[in-house]
Amino acid sequence: MLSRVYSCVLTGLDGNLTEVEVDISNGLPALNIVGLPDTAVKESKERVRAAIKNSGFEFPMKRITINLAPANTKKEGTYFDLPMALGILQASKQIENISIESFAFIGELSLNGNLNRVPGALPLVIALRNQGIKKIILPKSNADEAAMIEDIEIYPFHSLKDIIKYFQGDCMVAPYKTDKRILRKGSSGYDEDFADVVGQEMVKRAFQIAAAGGHNIMMIGPPGSGKTMLARRFPTILPDMTYEERLEVTKIYSVAGELSDYASLVKERPFRSPHHTISSTALVGGGRKPKPGEVSLAHFGVLFLDELPEFQRSVLEMLRQPMEDEVVTISRLNATLTYPSNFVLMASMNPCPCGYYGDLSHACSCTPMQIKKYLSKISGPLLDRIDMHIEIFPIKYEELTKNCTSKTSAQMKVDVDRARKNQLERYKNHKIFFNAQLTPNLTKKYCELGYQEKLLMEDAFNKLGLSARAYNRIIKVSRTIADLNDCDQIETAHIAEAIQYRNLDRKFWNL
């Protein structure tokens, strides 16, 4: 009268093998769940009861005790419905002579016995594979996401009834496989293209550098100069994600419950543009049981903060640690979780409240005090972490009506892809993918400067009053520029270009 079914519990991005033990004994009809279940797990007794009844079985009128082992960790989520239902059916001898020990089960039941999609299936499957489980049964709508993982057999099912039929040998099911080529295929294309933007060649060049090396970038310019329009097109030139990157991003989206039947894999680099009213919890993640925030959802992608000074200052300061460490650790009473947060920060802002400070065709109506107050919303430490500052000028009438075609996104992406390939090749023995991730050690190794270059850097360091961090970041940017130009060695021109992307903070912030 005892049965045991394997399942998995999710804490952050990691899963742990869990045994669902079901004991049925004589006594008043009752269903007790022990092993620190939360409300969603406790509620599952009602779903299990209805699902068993509506799948043509009988819910035993006995005393049922369910233990979720290890019993000392908190369990949450709805994916224990299926293992519980199977455990009850087995313990009450309604399904017999079948072996379910070699399987692990994940799934939420609906009242009619169908299996519903669960969030976090991908990390669960990865955890189960790492703990030696060979076969997994899960809802059909989670199949694509789970099939990303190799060396494990995925058996997706539509309903509880189908699973029983399978185990009783009434139907044969082959392990689910997706076409791996689809997984590795590039993004499906965008509606927008850089060819829509007339002129602004210098900005486009800066974007290419940022995209190739994963550098943070900030645009300052008057209203209507095309900041937002340019930013919206930034994803179109981002290099394609590698398989490992896709897996990691999909994991985060899976845990956040942002995957759907139509998009069960994240194929394109995320581009997150939260509104400036965003709270600090939504940005870095949080909640009673911490969920990933925007910085983690933008992992390996872009976090675009439009109108940067409009964000609450406290919210912006939250970005400092995740930007530096590339992970964010959220501590709450119930759990302390670490989510990756390796993103490219892209920010846009006006130089002053009226927007026209420094513009040649409009007069600025702000007082110096107002401008100072406005710009001081962006703190020095945050500014220091942004590698490239670019000023955007409004486009001239002749340029707007001139019938020249500018480079398309596809053309720009070719350069970016080539530069990224150089980096992947160079860092294949290290656990990094692009230049912005270089640690001080690796910077020394891969960004060696010649005599001329050293002189230039020394000059810039002293004259511009650079911080040590800014110095490192300039070198990383010049490494990317060299990669874009297919140079193995960083040259003076590369460094000079990198330095000129750092001069705006002095133009505006040292009033």
Binding site: N26, G27, L28, P29, M61
Partner: protein, 119 residues
């Protein structure tokens, strides 16, 4: 209370008492009442006093009889049982609470289901 329901209950309790007698239990009290409530049967066997709640149903359209025993009912049973034990100053013996469900079908003999130790 509807007379029919009351009669049904008395009938069910009779059947339950008969069933317990066959199992060599000695029926000590039936319908023991005190200010805390009522216990349908108090029986004794092997130095164990058993307090029995009998539930009778004609059909299961409102669920099985034992499903009607909830936490509230259990607390009542426990209080009456404790009162009884204290009142008679019973010592050196075991106590148990049981439930017996009786399902009555006019065409078939009644079905008895005995559940030991419901607490």
């Amino acid at each position: 209370m509807n007379k029919n329901t009351r009669d049904l209950g008395i009938f069910g309790e009779k059947i339950a008492a008969e069933y317990l007698r066959k199992l060599c239990y000695k029926v000590i009290r039936s319908n023991y009442r005190c200010r805390f409530g009522e216990i349908d049967l108090i029986v004794y066997k092997n130095n164990t006093y058993v307090f029995v709640e009998v539930k009778t149903r004609r059909n299961t359209s409102f669920g099985r009889p034992v499903e009607a025993i909830n936490r509230n009912k259990k607390t009542h049973l426990l209080r009456v049982g404790q009162y009884y034990i204290q009142n008679l100053n019973l010592k050196d013996c075991n106590f148990r609470f049981d439930a017996i469900e009786v399902m009555i079908d006019p065409l078939k003999p009644p079905k008895v289901n005995h559940i030991e130790n419901i607490m």
